[in-house]
Amino acid sequence: MRIVFKTGYMQDIRPWKDRYQLGLYLILLAVVVAAPWWLDEFYLGELTNVLIWAIAGLGLMILTGHTGQISLGHAAFLAFGCYANVILIEAGVPFLIAFPLAGILTGIAGVTVAIPALRLHGIYLAIFTMALSILMDDVIVLAEPITGGVAGKYLGGVEIFGHLVDRWATPDQFFWLVLIVAVLVTLGYINLLRAPLGRSFIAVRDSEVSAQAMGVDIAKTKTISFALSCAVTGWAGALMGLYAGAFNNETFSVLISIQLLMMVVIGGLGSIHGAFLGAVVIGFLPQFLSISKEYIGAVVGGSTVAIPGLEFGIFGVILIGFILFEPMGMYGRWLKIRTWFELFPFYRKDMFKRQKSYLKTERLR
């Protein structure tokens, strides 16, 4: 059992609990940075994919996990970021300017969406954002002169300081590019959470009335949350475009939105870890399924049959399992396991049990 003694306020303000924890994260980072040396090209590509999904997950986590605003429309913002990035690059803007700009533009798009969405709660917000995601498909087709319509667009690698960074030609460089973006977004997210704005997000999520009474402007906070969430999602979209190479109106379908939402729920709502853990599941599950299908085929002796919709079926089962048995997601489960070891043998089963809320009859909403 490890006890952290606190002797100064900085210990709570710093993102890490103690040097042991900081050391663990630095080791993890070092291992991941060195991935091109210990992973073959195929799995490096998969890892890159997972990191891109994790960035998108971080984007959605800001909005859904921390501000409590559900969104089934984040694929629209992935698409927006992707197209914005490519269109800027085609216009001759260097990648290092086009990429940040793509995120910022997506953030601005998010604000314009947020303003009508401010009054919506729960299921209505979900429907509203889902409509957005479906709409985006048509918008891309209609705006053919800019977006290339159904034929889509193709982007070979990008140049950074004369260096070619491409998914196929230089997978190592592309991986590091994605990793840098993921680390920067994560650091910004951590900083946000320990500052007043991040806390006001949590306040809006847990009780709008008392957030207001504490001087938190609900409309403004939600708008900022939308903006940040969409900006990060836009960056993820831009990277997805680079990763996929070619994309069209169907690349970012509403199914991607649903997958994103499932990802943050499975990972654990309201935690940065959750976005990464969820991304690992979403990113590796298709590979895992095809490998295990082959394996089962070899054992049973039949030929491997393609079962349409199997992937989504299994996603669905996993999601239902999590909602029933572990609403706190994978990160929540990990916290429980860790606490079990830290407190051994004093862990109680109801330690993480949520208490039933007290009377809410007089709630204003």
Partner: protein
């Protein structure tokens, strides 16, 4: 000098008149209690101050500002903090985080400096923490500092809510039934705290309370309400023996 001033305030929900032509003043430095049977409009008065409702008529002045000119998130900026009858804490955050949200109105950093967590953002966090620790010491919450609200017992939640309101550094503290659901012992504790909040911190307290022991113990003046209107206003003893108040609670002697 009067800190809070209600002038002929009327609020109607459809055909129901929740507050009817109500006028009263809360003086700076006093503990002012509002009592009355259920449905008298006591909590509605609080929600009017918090600007959750727009009054039908009348004006509400606080410390020289017209409260009706600001929206509900602006009320805190003038120095009004409140608790809720049914506890509205941020359930999935720690006690410390809850209290730090109380410091929100003193936020000076902006989005960029927070994302980069600049020196000024760190300075601000340290200052906020110091202020919050004072409140934690004052209300004896040390043992619960890093606990999640969702795991805390009811009595502690009540105190955390008062602490969060105090963390905003208010001029006026609105307590909506601070003693409801508390044991006799906890109620006595709450009584001394309200006394200390007034004496040591110099904060004016406006409270809604049913526990007459608590009301007569701490308050300087009491307003009795029924059906949204004033029944009696005066010292606790005066109000308790006022015939209209007795009638409202017990009915007319036949």
């Amino acid at each position: 000098m009067s800190l809070l001033e209600f002038e002929n305030v009327t609020l109607k929900f459809g055909g129901l008149t929740a507050v009817n032509d109500l006028s009263f003043e809360v003086q700076e430095g006093e503990v002012f209690a509002i009592v009355g049977p259920n449905g008298a409009g006591k909590s509605t008065v609080f929600n009017l101050i918090s600007r959750f409702y727009d009054p039908f008529a009348g004006s509400i002045q606080f410390d020289g500002h017209d409260l009706l000119q600001v929206k509900s998130s602006g009320v805190a900026a003038y120095g009004v903090a409140r608790t809720f009858q049914n506890i509205e804490l941020f359930e999935h955050a720690t006690v410390l985080q809850n209290l730090l949200v109380g410091r929100h109105r003193h936020r000076k950093t902006n989005l960029i400096s927070e994302i980069l967590f600049t020196r000024s953002a760190r300075r601000q966090e340290l200052d906020n923490r110091e202020k919050v620790e004072e409140i934690i010491d004052f209300l004896d919450l040390q043992a619960f500092r890093d606990k999640m609200i969702s795991g805390l017992p009811y009595g502690v939640r009540k105190v955390v809510e008062v602490a969060r309101a105090l963390a905003t550094d208010p001029k006026l503290l609105l307590l909506d039934e601070p003693a409801s659901g508390l044991s006799v012992e906890e109620t006595t504790g709450m009584r001394w705290w309200i006394d200390d909040i007034r004496r040591q911190m110099g904060i004016t307290v406006l409270m809604v309370e049913h526990d007459m022991g608590l009301v007569s113990g701490v308050s300087d003046r009491v307003l009795a309400m029924a059906d949204g209107a004033e029944l009696a206003l005066g010292t606790p003893a005066e109000v308790q023996s006022h015939p209209a108040v007795i009638e409202a609670y017990l009915g007319k002697a036949s």
